[in-house]
Amino acid sequence: MLASATSPKQPPPIVELRGVDFCYGTHLALHNIHLSAERNRVTALIGPSGCGKSTLLRCVNRMNERLTGARVSQGQVFVKGKNIHDADVDLTQLRKQVGMVFQKSNPFPKSIYDNVAYGLKIHGITAKDILDDAVERALRSAVLWHELKDRLNQNALRLSGGEQQRLCIARAIATNPDVLLMDEPCSALDPIATLQIEELMQQLAHDYTVIFVTHNMQQAVRVSDYTAFLHLGRLIEFGDTEELFSNPKQKLTESYLRGTFS
C-alpha cells in the first residue's frame, strides 16, 4: 500500500518527493523516487549499503549540494507544500525547518548549553531568557534535562556516546523544525543507548516528523510507522511498516528481509 498524498482522509504529506533523480556528476545515485512522509509519523529508509538511502535523506534538506556536481537532476522535492528547489528558497531557512542528526554524534567542543543554543544563535536569537527557555525545552524533549540541568556549562565532549547523540538531537530540535532527518543515528551506540534513542524517536514523533535511515531492520520494525526499501538507487517498496515486513509485495523486498542478500 502506498501512503498516497491524494487520499482525501489524510492530511497532505509534509515531505514529498516526486520522481526525483539524483546524480553525483555522471553517477546516478537515485532514480525516479516517489515518496511522501506524513506529519508526526516515523518513516524508515532501509536497504543494503550504497543503495542511496542517505542520499535520499539528504535531498530533503539539500545537504548533498555542498559537493560539486551533486544535484537533483529531475523531479521535485516538496517540504510543507513548497518546492525546495525554487529560486526564492533561502537554504538557511529551509534547514531551520528541516533538522538533521548525523551518524556519528558530533557535539562541538563547547559547553552543553552552547551546543543546544548554537542553531538559535545562528538564526539571530540573542536574548538570554529566550535562549534559556529554548535550551530547556530542547533538552526536555531529548530527555536530557534531568541529567544535565546542573552542568550545562560542562564541555559536551565529556558526555557518554548516547548522551552526546541525544544532545545532538536536542541541538537539532532547538530551532523547532517540522521535520527531523536522522542518518543512522544509532549505528555507533551500544544496545542500551540505542534503545533510549529509539524510544526518544517515537516520542519526538508527537511534535515532529521523523525520517531516518537505518541498516538495522529490527530497528525499523520497532520504531517506524512507514518503511521504504531502496535498492540500487530505486525505491522498491514503500508502505506501512507492519505490512511491508509481514507481507512484502516485491520479490526483492522479501529476499532482502529474509537475508538472502544484503
Partner: protein
Amino acid sequence: MIPTPIHPKLDPANPFVGHQSRNQIRESFVRWILRIGTLIIVSVTAAIILHITVKGAPVALSREWPFVNVTFLTELPSTLHVIQDHQGHIIETDVNGADAIKMQLGANLRQEKTISYSGGGILGPIVGTAMLVIVSVGVALLLGVASAIYLSEYASHGKFIEMVRLAILNLAGVPSVVFGLFGLGAFVLTAPVFTSAPLDRAIFTLPLGFTTLSFQGWDTCVLSGGFTLAFVILPVIITASEQCLQAVPLEFRETSMALGATRWQTIWRAVLPFATPGILTSSILGIARAAGETAPIMFTAALAFKDKLPWQKDLVALPADASWFAHWEQSIQRFLAIFTESVQALPYHIYTLAARIPQNEYSERAQYGSVFVFLILVASLAATSIWMRRRLRAKYKW
C-alpha cells in the same frame, strides 16, 4: 647425473653462520654513518650555542642582582670612548664623559680610542625589532588567515587553486634580499599616503578635495619594513593556518550547515574557534622568522644608528594655553610617528657591529652581547610556541 653443487651461502647444514656476514657488516656501517651525521649536526648546534653563550653571557648578564646587565639592556647604542693613561689604566666612557676625564688626566693621557656603536646598550635595536615584528605579524595574520580561509573553505578545487598553492610555495623560496628590494619599490617608494603636498616623485596622485592620495611611498620606516617582513612570513602563516583549518573535523561544518548556518557563520562559529589556537601557535614561529631577517629590512626600515627611540620624536612644543584638541592631535601625531620612523633592529645591528666597523675587543663584546640577547629572545619565542602547542593539544581534542 651430476648433482648441481650447492652454493656455500645456501648450505643448509650450517644455519647459524655468525653475525659477521657481509650483510651484518654493511648494516653496522650504515648505522654508524647515520649516527655520525646526526652527531655532527648536534655538535655544530651545541658549539654555536656554547660559543655565543661563553662570549655573550658575560656581556648581557651579571653576577649580582638583578643578574642582567641593566645598562646593556636599557640604553641606546652610542659611541664608546676608551681612554688609556700611562700607567695602563683603561677607562671606558661615552662621549659626554670623555672630555672631563681627559681634562683630569691632562698630560697623563696616553691615547683615546673611539669605537662606533659599541657603547651603551641595545635597547634601540630590541625595541625596533619588537615593533617590526608587531607590524609584520599583524599584517601577515590578517592577510594570511584570510587567504587560508578562502583556500580551505571557499575555493573549489581546480587548476586555479593549484596555481595559487604553487605560488605560495614559491613565495617561501624567494631569497629574502629580493623581498627587501620589493619592499623598497612597493612600500618605500610607491605606497599611497594622504598628504596635502605630494612629492614630485609620486607616480600617481589622486586629488580628493580636502587632501591628496599620493603614491609617493612611506619612506624607510617601521611600516615599510613591517609590511615587507609580512610578505616574507606569509607563506609560513598561510600554510600553517590552512593545515589548522583542515584539522577541524568536517562534521562540525556539516552540522552547522544543517542547522541553517551560512558558510561564513559556520566558519566563524564552528571552524575558526577550534583552529585559532593552532594558527596562533604556528604564527609564533613566523615571529621568530620575522625577527631574524636582515635583508628585507636593510632597505626598508633599519638604520645603523639612531639616538632616539621611535616615540621620542621632536614635535613643536605646544603653547601653554593650547586647547585639548591640539593636545589630542599631537598625541595622535606622536603615536603615528612611532610607525613612520626608521628604527634600529637587532639583526641589522649585529651585522653593523660585525661587518661595518673595524674589529677590536670592544666591538666584539657588543656584538656577542647582542647575539646572545637575540638568541635568547628567539629561543624563548620558539619555546613558547612549543609549550602552547602542548597545552592546547591537550585542551582541544575531539
